[in-house]
């Protein structure tokens, strides 16, 4: 009876420790402000964090079990990411476009890192997204402004060129007339 009670106590303590560990792991996973999901070699989402929920509008359980390509505008990019992970084990700053539950498109910078088993086989990967939509919007606006200014500048240059040609033309004409005047003066003498 004594042994049984102590075993029961050990089991209860282990059970409590597991609870604490599970809560810790869950809190850490949910804490990450970066939208992250865990994908298996079959391109199926196994888990996602709260940040991804907020970013894409899906609940975690709506994404779990779905193919990861539902998140991407260009479905081929998923295959490319997986191939890159096999070659390089990780990816940083790959640009892409994702699509939210409501159909909104967002430009993202993608980071991914492979998960390996003890033999070094890739058994899945973590996928993280950084929203660069605003940055890309600003970049596009800046490029448009630069293009506009360049066009304006080009027009001004063309106008100046015209003026220069006209001015130079007039100067040459005046030189010609002066030469003609001297010639005529000499003739008079």
């Amino acid at each position: 009876m004594k042994i049984k009670n102590s075993q029961k106590l050990i089991i209860e303590q282990l059970s409590d420790n597991l609870e604490v560990l599970e809560a810790y792991a869950k809190d850490l996973w949910q804490f990450f402000p970066l939208p992250i999901c865990h994908v298996n070699p079959f391109q199926v989402i196994l888990d996602a964090n709260l940040a991804l929920e907020e970013f894409l509008g899906y609940k975690v359980f709506e994404l779990t079990g779905e193919k990861v390509d539902i998140l991407f505008v260009d479905k081929r990019q998923v295959q490319k990411i997986y191939q890159d992970i096999f070659k390089k084990k990780e990816i940083l700053y790959q640009e892409g476009e994702v699509i939210t539950k409501t159909g909104e498109r967002k430009t993202v910078s993608i980071a991914a890192r492979g998960r390996e088993d003890k033999k070094g086989n890739i058994i899945g990967y973590y996928l993280a997204f950084s929203d660069i939509s605003e940055f890309k919007k600003l970049q596009t606006e800046l490029e448009e402004k630069v293009e506009e200014r360049t066009e304006e500048l080009q027009k001004r240059i063309e106008e100046l060129e015209k003026f220069r040609k006209a001015a130079v033309g007039r100067e040459l004409k005046m030189v010609e007339l002066k030469q003609e005047m001297r010639r005529l003066e000499k003739k008079q003498e």
Binding site: D16, E19, P41, V44, L46, T64, G65, I123, G124
Partner: protein, 199 residues
């Protein structure tokens, strides 16, 4: 409201074995998701009235609970919300999506064969009774047969298991043609529960 006869309650109480707290939490979480906080409260209140108080927040994930408790609140939910078989399958699929045990186990499923090889291990993480094993696995013909022996359970549980198995296999197999069918059942005269999975 739920009208469970005393006879049915007694029958459910005969179910032996214990289940990990996570299982109760997964099922209650489904009720919360499907029927809202009010729905969850209705089930909790009804369980209290029946003499088996149960609070979602107080359940510990890694503690063992009598399996009949899990089955009882599922039957209560069935009666309150008039759930059909498909809803219980949905509950099974939901559990396999949110389960901490499933999240840990499926991380290592790198093939469909491995998935079926781990069936027994999976079962033992949840229950102290019964045994689940893969009786047959045919990759070429794309089917497998799972046998659950040593347990009775409840018909609602059979549907939940349908859904759970479907979702776990869906992590590693294309789901467009994935089907799970219980081809033998203790409640239809057999001594075992047998599930055929095709993909």
């Amino acid at each position: 409201m739920a009208k469970i006869s005393k006879e049915e309650i007694e029958e459910i109480k005969q179910v032996e074995g214990e289940v990990m707290g996570v299982s109760l939490k997964e099922d209650l979480q489904f009720i919360q998701e499907k029927e809202g906080e009010e729905g969850l409260k209705k089930v909790e209140d009804e369980m209290g009235k029946l003499g088996y108080p149960l609070k979602f927040e107080e359940i510990k994930n890694f503690q063992w609970y009598p399996w009949y408790l899990n089955l009882l609140f599922l039957v209560v939910a069935k009666n309150i919300f008039q759930w059909d078989d498909e809803t219980f399958r949905e509950s099974g699929r939901f559990s396999a999506k949110v389960s901490i045990i499933a999240k840990i186990m499926v991380k290592y499923f790198i093939s469909i064969r491995r998935c079926f090889e781990e069936a027994g291990n999976f079962w033992r993480k949840y229950y102290t009774v019964g045994e689940l094993k893969t009786e047959e696995f045919n990759k070429k013909e794309r089917f497998a047969v799972l046998v659950l022996s040593g347990v009775v359970g409840h018909p609602v549980f059979c549907r939940i298991l349908d859904g759970y198995i479907w979702q776990v296999v869906a992590y590693v197999a294309p789901k467009e043609k994935l089907k799970v069918q219980e081809i033998e059942c203790v409640f239809r005269g057999s001594k075992i529960h047998k599930f055929k999975v095709t993909w």
